[in-house]
Amino acid sequence: MSVQEILADDQDPARASGAQAVVLSTRIRLARNLAGHPFPGWAKAPQRQEIAERCIAALVDLPRFRRGHVLRMAQEADLDRAVLVERHLVSKELASGQAGAAVISRDQTCSVMVNEEDHLRLQVLRPGWHLRGTWNLAEQLDDALAAALPLAFSERLGYLTACPTNVGTGLRASAMVHLPGLCLAGQMDKVTRALNQDGLAVRGWLGEGTEAAGNIYQVSNQQTLGLAEEDILKHLGFWIKHLVEQEWNARRKLALDEGEKFVDRLARSFGVLRHARLLSSSEAMNMLSHLRLACDLGCLPEALRDQVDRLLIEGQPAHVQVRHGSPLDSDGRDLRRAAVMREALRAFPEVGPPSA
């Protein structure tokens, strides 16, 4: 029932406005473990269960999670777990195992994955670019957690984690960025290399493979030890600001150089979404990326961007099926997805020239 509540909830960050032209969302993740207990990947099943229940009991007592959701993966249907992944509330790894659980705040801003690679993965996710505010929330949550549970910490190595790539601060700060300008300009490889060389990872929409559907990327820090949280955040902040500028430069140049051809490209994507009878997930995402760009540039009213963002999530395979009410095969999903898009775009005006 709880996943249904999450889907129905108006507080849903995916529906809430606040995403920006380039940065869709800001995320802070902290890896924490209970002192004196084997990590989830090495613990025996009964130990894992005991750890999970202990963590959950401590979490539901925190004010932040009052009236929140507790979801034990073993008890959730496959589709419901996939919905949580598509909303970035839990990772694929957590959803695919049986030992994990997620505790999610009422407003879906804060979530804690229990028994992922580490005992606890705290996550704060907010629409738009709000590194400072997101960090402050994470810090509060971390303090509350440390007061409730004995965390594994070493004075020399910091927070002890299962994987050496997380030890120290356990901090992964990231921004989800929409980069259609840089992608269309063929500059993404260059940008990725530059970010990699300066210690930042670039991943796709759900963290999978190299191909980023919908021109959406996750940029995050890689180093967690030997740097203070403050410096990690500053470093990411510096690059995201730079990336946003680069993206706008690329967009302006495309609009200027290609003129009517550029608007035509966006308008064609609109036409496909508005009229197609079958749409695959990646096709829908790539077309929605163009619509989002159209909103950013004023080719469509900017106020429609939130609706486009909602469709990016509603077009995901598990969302299509859950909204439909039963599992669908690939063809069935493509048919249903196209219907969702046609219906949602019915009230959209025509794609026009950029506003400035």
């Binding site: 020399r156 910091g158 002890l160 050496p164």
Partner: protein, 160 residues
């Protein structure tokens, strides 16, 4: 028939085979679908880790007294067994850590009541700089304060 390759990061059968140039040399990585899906394919840190993990597996030389995890387990999984494993494997992991992390000393947040060594070291460096500045400015009151702070920090940093 050849043996199926094992994933460089866990014990699963590798189905994704990649090579990437890291620091001027070609690194080959074999990943299972799950690990590749985790973003391993585009994460240079993972490549470097996998590279270090591909050292030929030998008999276990280190065992965590707390959870029984061995260095052979680590080479197979790329993950440790429990928080206490860091005491057993921390030293052996230092070169590996330095491939993915800038420094092997925590300088960030800490639970109440603890002060990470890295933080103390940074404060010590700052106090020494403040002392030099104070002496140059002939501010002897500040210099005395900095000297006290340096002494306290040096005492705190002395290995027990």
């Amino acid at each position: 028939m050849s043996q199926p390759l094992q994933c460089s990061l866990c014990a699963e059968v590798a189905t994704v085979h990649l090579s990437q140039v890291v620091g001027g040399k070609v690194t080959k990585v074999h990943l299972c679908e799950a690990c590749a899906g985790k973003g391993g394919a585009v994460d240079p840190a993972v490549f470097q880790l996998a590279d270090a993990l591909q050292a030929p597996a030998a008999a276990a030389e280190l065992t965590c007294p707390r959870c029984g995890f061995t260095d052979v387990d680590f080479r197979k999984r790329g993950r440790l067994g429990c928080p206490a494993c860091w005491e057993t494997f921390g030293g052996a992991l230092s070169p590996l850590l330095l491939k993915v992390q800038p420094e092997v000393a925590h300088v960030g947040r800490a639970p109440a009541g603890t002060a990470p060594l890295g933080q103390l070291r940074h404060r010590l460096a700052a106090a020494r700089a403040a002392l030099a500045t104070a002496i140059a400015a002939e501010d002897y009151e500040q210099a005395a304060k900095s000297r006290d702070e340096i002494a306290a920090l040096e005492a705190a940093l002395k290995p027990a």
